[in-house]
Each structure stands twice: as structure tokens, then as C-alpha cells.
């Protein structure tokens, strides 16, 4: 019994090391002064951070990604919230079909989904534009946003709304003072995670960006393919730092359990 649980623990820690290794390695590699990537770095320097923070290419791609992620998170959270309000309160013909179609982006293999989104953007002439990527990312992110919002609304006690209305509160006031505060943690979580998914997305985006419009992860990908300097490691580290800060703030706001739970719908 002893040895078996010892073996299990060793395996568990080994798996943890495996899972965290590439992330830790990227952080260490980002402090290399060398022109080309080598590990371990010969010495430590901030050369590539200076390079990245002084480069208009990197900052531009970063800006595009932030704007895109913000638009995507706002639109998808709002759209899915409105839909979830209806599907959690009304029974109607075609409801289960609708809920299945919301999950459709998860059922398509990523490469095929990317091609379908590309075909869409070619039709509406949105390839390589902020508007086009916005629509594409909203579709990609929709399943991840809809599920937690539905779960949040299901836990909400409709009796509270009824009580407020019985006491003479008009519907909009009830919504603002009763429903919205109760559902706020779900909304924040949905917003935060659609932001992160859009901000990190690369598989579909690489098909959708254009010469004049690119996102940060796509720029990282094309840089790895072209010159692969440690600048990529520096950008990646900054990116992770930003995401972690963001997640920490959000989990302080709504509780860490909810944050893990919402990502598990993958």
C-alpha cells in the first residue's frame, strides 16, 4: 500500500513538472542576451525586453489584440446573456436545437472551423480587418460564454424577481436591482474568459489576419517561423504576466472556484 501511493505521488509530481516545464523554460529563456535561442542562456540580461518594448511592431500587435479581445468579450457576453435569459425562463420549439448549435464551434475540428470562418470572412470581405476578426472570434468564444451564464442564471432564484414585482417594482428596475447583482459574478467570469480566449487565440486567427492587421499570438507564430530570437520568449513572458494579473484580479472579485469551473466546459 505504502509503495503504491509513493509511486502515485512520484508520478503526480513528475506530471506537474512536465506540465509546467515549457512555461517556466520560456520565462528563463527570455532573460538571454544571445542573438539566437539557446538553453540554458549564457548569462542574464533584459536586452530582449528593451527590444520588444521599443518595437512598434510588437506594441502594435499587442494593441490590436487588446482591442479585439475587449470587443469580443463585450459583444459575446452581452449576446449570450440575453439568449440565456430567454432559454432559462421559456420553453419553446427549437430550444434544444438552438442550444446544440451554440456548442457547434466546439464540435468542429479547429482547422475546419478556421476554414469555415475564413470562408465567411471572404464572403463578407472581412478578412484581415478588425471587424472580420471580431465576428469570427465572437463565434469561436460563444460556447465558452453561454454555458457559465446559463449555469449562473439557473442558480438564480426566480422567486426573488417575483417578490420584487409583487411589491410593485417595474420589470426594468427589478432587473437592475435584483437580477443583475445576483448574476454579476457569472457575467464577470464570462467576460474575463472570453477576453483571454480571444487574446490567446491563434489557430483560427492565423487564417483570418491580413497584411495590415495582425494579432499578438499570430505575430509570435510568424516570428518563430522566421527568425526565432529570444524576443519571442520576452513577449510570451509579458503576455503570461498580464494574463496571470488579470486572472488574479478576476478571481479576487468572484472567487477562484468559479474561475476554474468555467474553463472546464472545454
Amino acid at each position: 500500500m505504502r509503495t503504491r501511493s509513493l509511486v502515485l505521488s512520484l508520478f503526480g509530481y513528475a506530471a506537474l513538472v512536465f506540465i509546467l516545464a515549457p512555461i517556466v523554460i520560456v520565462v528563463i529563456a527570455s532573460f538571454s542576451p544571445a542573438r539566437y535561442m539557446e538553453f540554458p542562456p549564457p548569462s542574464l540580461s533584459l536586452r530582449w525586453y528593451r527590444e520588444v518594448l521599443g518595437s512598434s511592431d510588437w506594441l502594435g500587435a499587442f494593441g490590436s489584440s487588446i482591442v479585439l479581445a475587449f470587443c469580443v468579450a463585450t459583444a459575446t457576453t452581452a449576446a449570450c446573456f440575453l439568449a440565456a435569459l430567454v432559454t432559462t425562463r421559456r420553453r419553446f420549439v427549437g430550444k434544444s436545437l438552438l442550444e446544440m448549435l451554440v456548442q457547434a464551434p466546439l464540435l468542429l475540428p479547429n482547422a475546419a472551423l478556421a476554414m469555415a470562418l475564413l470562408a465567411l470572412l471572404v464572403q463578407i470581405k472581412g478578412r484581415g480587418t478588425l471587424g472580420g476578426l471580431w465576428i469570427a472570434h465572437c463565434i469561436l468564444v460563444m460556447p465558452f460564454v453561454y454555458r457559465p451564464l446559463v449555469n449562473g442564471l439557473r442558480q438564480f432564484d426566480l422567486g426573488l424577481e417575483e417578490a420584487a414585482m409583487t411589491l410593485g417594482s417595474p420589470p426594468l428596475r427589478t432587473f437592475r436591482l435584483i437580477t443583475l447583482p445576483a448574476i454579476k459574478p457569472s457575467l464577470i467570469t464570462a467576460f474575463a474568459f472570453s477576453f483571454i480566449i480571444s487574446f490567446d487565440e491563434v489557430t483560427a486567427s492565423v487564417f483570418l489576419v491580413g497584411v495590415n492587421y495582425t494579432t499578438l499570438p499570430v505575430k509570435i507564430l510568424s516570428d518563430i517561423q522566421s527568425d526565432a530570437t529570444p524576443a519571442i520568449a520576452a513577449v510570451s513572458t509579458l503576455l503570461m504576466l498580464l494574463t496571470m494579473t488579470f486572472v488574479t484580479i478576476v478571481s479576487r472579485m468572484v472567487g477562484i472556484g468559479r474561475v476554474i469551473g468555467s474553463r472546464s466546459g472545454h
Binding site: P22, V26, A79, L82, L98, A119, I135, I139, A228, S236
Partner: protein
Amino acid sequence: MRLSRAAFLLLLPVLGMILSLGTGVFALIEQSFVGADGLSLKAFQAFVSRREAMSVFLYTHQMALLVSAICVVVSFPLAVFLVRKQNQAYVLLIMMPLLVSIVVRTYGWMVILGPRGLINAALMGAGITTAPIRLMFNTTGVVIGLVHIYIPFATLSILTVYSKIDRSLVDGAAALGAGPWRVFSRIILPLAMPGVIAAASIVYLLTIGAVVTPLLLGSIQQMMLGSMIYDQMLVTFDFPSAGSAAIILTLSAALAILPLQLADRWVTRKLPAERS
């Protein structure tokens, strides 16, 4: 029941997104099925008759099988470990990589596996090899990269089901004299089966659709469907071929997942009704 007009208006934005995706899928199908001379299956015949395309197709499914198998075998004990630890922090550590873009994680593996990377530096430093050994730009690299990305998904699927297994069944079997192996094979594994099947399905689907990891860690001679579509679309600008490859990818994904879904139904039916 019919929806009121107000309720329908609330559904409109999501309906718009679904319709947009539908438009894209339809356009993709149209481009692959409809040629200059009307409806045709030429693009598919072309795919099937090209030796390289078929070899990419088979290789992709072999990789999906291999990666799902490895993920299940690694994730099962990992899920057991996490349940025993009873500590949310460990679960968080496993989930943390999900917050990091896959292009960054794949880059991390390039730093570890590359010719001047961590492993080769260690091997040469210890004098085990004199020249760097090839760990990426081949199947090994892609398998490591994909397994790493998909383990959190697989672990989470198994963890959810495993943590709900009634401990009294396990203790009861042990008290009645069943050895550890028998307890595992007759009690734990069947009860955890829905989680295992879910994990395998998710990883299979994700692997055959992967683009970035096979692109960066794989060899150019042996592409996967995802990296072939990338190549046709963004390097040789062959939209029709990429389109038909995407449709073949989707259809074969559905066919591959189907047996797993049937197995899931069968397993769930065999399990005793959940006691509350």
C-alpha cells in the same frame, strides 16, 4: 410554446452568430462541391487519389489515436493523485497552462527539444552524446507538444467523474477480499469509464484539428491535416484543396468519435442508477 416578440429579439444576437457560422460552413461546402461545371465530387476524388493527401489523412488519425491513448494513460493516475491530494492548488497548477496561448507553450517545447535546447545541452554536457539528437521536427516532437496541451482537458474530464465514485463501493469490495487490481478493474475503472471516454473523444477531436503544434514541432515531409490545410491556404493559396481537406477532416472526425459515443451510451446503461 411560441416565443413572444421580445424574447425573440433577445435571441437575435446569438442567432446572428450561429447563422454567420452556418454561412461560413455552407460557403466552404459550396467551394468544394461546386466546380466550373456544376455539382461535382472532383475535389474529393483529387484528395483520395493523391498519395500524399491520403498519407497525411492516415497519419493524422494515427497521431490522434496515439495522443488520446497517451493522454488517458497519463491523466487517469494524475486525476487519482489530484483527488487524493485534496488540494485545489494542485488542480490550479494543472489548469494554469490553459491560460497560456498554445503558440507560447509550443515555443516552450522548441526551447526544450531544439538542437541547442535544454535536453540536448544536458545530454551533451553529461557526455552521453556528442552531437544533438533530433527531438523535434518529427513525430516525437508533435506527440510531446500535443500531449502537453491536451492533458489538462483529459485530466479534468476524468477527475470530474472519478471524484464522484462512491468510496464505500471500493471499501466494500476490499473488505470482501478483492485485491487492489480486482478493485480497480471491476469497480473503479467501469465507474470512471464515462470520464475516460469523454477524455479520449475530446483529445481525439482536438488532435486531428491541430494546426500550430504540428506546424512548429512537426516535419515538413510528414504533415498533419491541420498543417496541410495551413500550407495549402497560406503558402500555396489553393483554397479548393484546403476546403475539401477541411470537410474530409470534419466528416472523418464525426466517424471516429461515433464509436466512442456509442460506447459511452452502452457504459452509462450498464452502470447502476445514480443514488442520491
